[in-house]
Amino acid sequence: MADHVSVASHHVGASAASAAAIQPVAGAAAARTTAHLVLIHPARTKRRRFTITRVPRLARRAIGPIVAIALWQLVCSQGLFTSFEVASPVAVFDAGRELAAQGVLASNLLISLQRVAIGVLLGVGTGVFLAVLCGLFWVGEDLIDPVIQAFRAVPILGLVPLVIIWFGVGETPKVFLIALGSLFPVYLNTYAGIRNVDNKLVEAGRTFGLNRLGLVFQVILPGALPGFLVGLRFALVGSWIIDVVAEEINAQSGLGYLINQAQSTNRIDIMFCCLTIYAILGLAADAIVRLLERRLLVWRAAFAGG
């Protein structure tokens, strides 16, 4: 191969200046001297009239769920399942309208939202506080972290009977369980985020005159933000799981309570409706975290773009 190339450049060198060796060679000489070379095909994007990437991202991401719902409707209308086993999308929609007309949907949805919001706020706040305590002070790490790690190993839903004994059947046990469930992922990821902040950055910050408070607020906490957001995402997803279980076991209101009621009256359509609402709430929670990420981690987005 190497011999071929050197022979080729000799040919060109004979007919033109030596610098011409790298320029395209035309005519019959080219056919002889480039026979052993291969052409790298340029991209042919210009020829394509339509590409999937031209469709807006939101619309592209909606295609999958829409197809899934269509298939779901198709399966139901073909009679593969009875309406006592699986409710069709149309039936789910009707059930939603029925619940809304009775005024049951909004009130129960709101009470669930309220429980999750208060629980997540408390859990995230406590989780961040403990993570900062353990991430910044060795006393916190040595004294508090092992305790949290031990509590983390206890299944939260296993606490339900205990929590009922402690707090009765009001709002407190539900909010407590949700708070506890969102505390651990936020704590773990924020703590890891703080510990993963590049020590060289901390050193640079100290050299250039940042005091301890400046280091915490300008270097360490912003550096732990990506970890915190991962924890927040886990917390939001987990909080709805805990909410529905807490409400099914012991509640007079909420989406979980609605599902439980539907079970006792054999209303498959209402059960599916509530589950669909959970799915939508989960998507909304995810969208909120994505939005936060886009806002708070612009410096990283700039990196991905560049």
Binding site: K200, L201, E203, A204, G205, R206, T207, F208, G209, L210, G214, Q218, V219, P222, G223, L225, V298, W299, R300, A302, F303, G306
Partner: protein, 268 residues
């Protein structure tokens, strides 16, 4: 603890006075073994040495980053470090990075910001004030790091192989920039490098560190701008290389290596 020299006059008008400096990371194996070094205000000193000779250890002690040393070290209060990596805070834009850790003076926050912008203009990056560090090239990021050091008007600038990670073309440009900046601001400079050419090109004085002690300390008396092609330049370069244990390839040495090649290929 590193002691601060109040003003230029203290320690006999020196920017750095280090005497009997020792530092060991393992018992019985000292990295620095009773090192003495003094630097005059405005003097540019290049600190050469092989890997592991203790160059960066000394720089970190002078910068106040390593308090676990023995001996006496006197340095000015206003010091600035440029590391091999730019070490910019990724979540702060370029301008806030430059004035990182500075407190607003009489001009308030706006004055401080302008101060940062001026320093950026000086390194030729006025247009990048609002850029994120991740979008900068290696050379640009290192220029921001230079601006961040200069904006503090340091009496002592500590440069820890600041151009080591840059490509040759960018490095040459940075040499020119650094010389211009030093001529204007006149800080005392300690440049840690293992590039002998760079040392002879930039420094007023070259110091070789071998096994924890200074074994060669020579003034670089060449007129600026310096031409690496001149015999005086090459002589000093060869002398420093020899001190570092590198004999430049004499024609005889080249012949020897040629003679060895066929034998190596045969055995391989």
């Amino acid at each position: 603890m590193v002691n601060h020299v109040p003003g230029d006059q203290a320690a006999g008008g020196l920017a750095v006075l280090a005497t009997g400096v020792t530092r060991s990371f393992q018992p019985g194996r000292g990295v620095l073994r009773g090192l003495d070094l003094s630097i005059a205000p405005g003097q540019f000193v290049a600190l050469l040495g092989r890997s592991g000779a203790g160059k960066s250890t000394l720089l970190r002690i002078l910068g106040g980053l390593d308090p676990e040393y023995g001996g006496d070290v006197l340095v000015p209060e206003r010091r600035a470090v440029v590391f091999q990596e730019p070490r910019l805070i990724p979540w702060q834009r370029v301008q806030p990075n430059v004035v990182l850790g500075l407190r607003p003076g009489p001009g308030g926050r706006r004055g401080l910001k302008q101060h940062g912008l001026d320093a950026l203009a000086e390194v030729g990056l006025a247009g990048h004030a609002r850029a994120w560090p991740a979008t900068l090239s290696g050379g640009e990021a290192q220029r921001v790091a230079l601006a961040r050091a200069l904006v503090r008007e340091p009496q002592l600038m500590l440069l820890d192989e600041p151009f080591g990670a840059l490509d040759a073309l960018t490095r040459t440009k940075m040499h020119t920039l650094l010389q211009a900046l030093c001529a204007r601001h006149r800080p005392a400079v300690l440049l840690v490098t293992h590039d002998v050419q760079e040392a002879v090109l930039l420094a007023d004085r070259a110091v070789v560190l071998t096994e924890g002690r200074i074994t060669l300390d020579v003034p670089v008396g060449l007129p600026r701008p310096r031409d690496p092609a001149r015999p005086a330049f090459q002589d000093l370069r060869a002398r420093l290389l020899a001190e570092l244990g590198v004999d430049e390839l004499r024609p005889a040495a080249v012949a020897e290596t040629r003679a060895i090649w066929p034998a190596q290929t045969r055995s391989g």
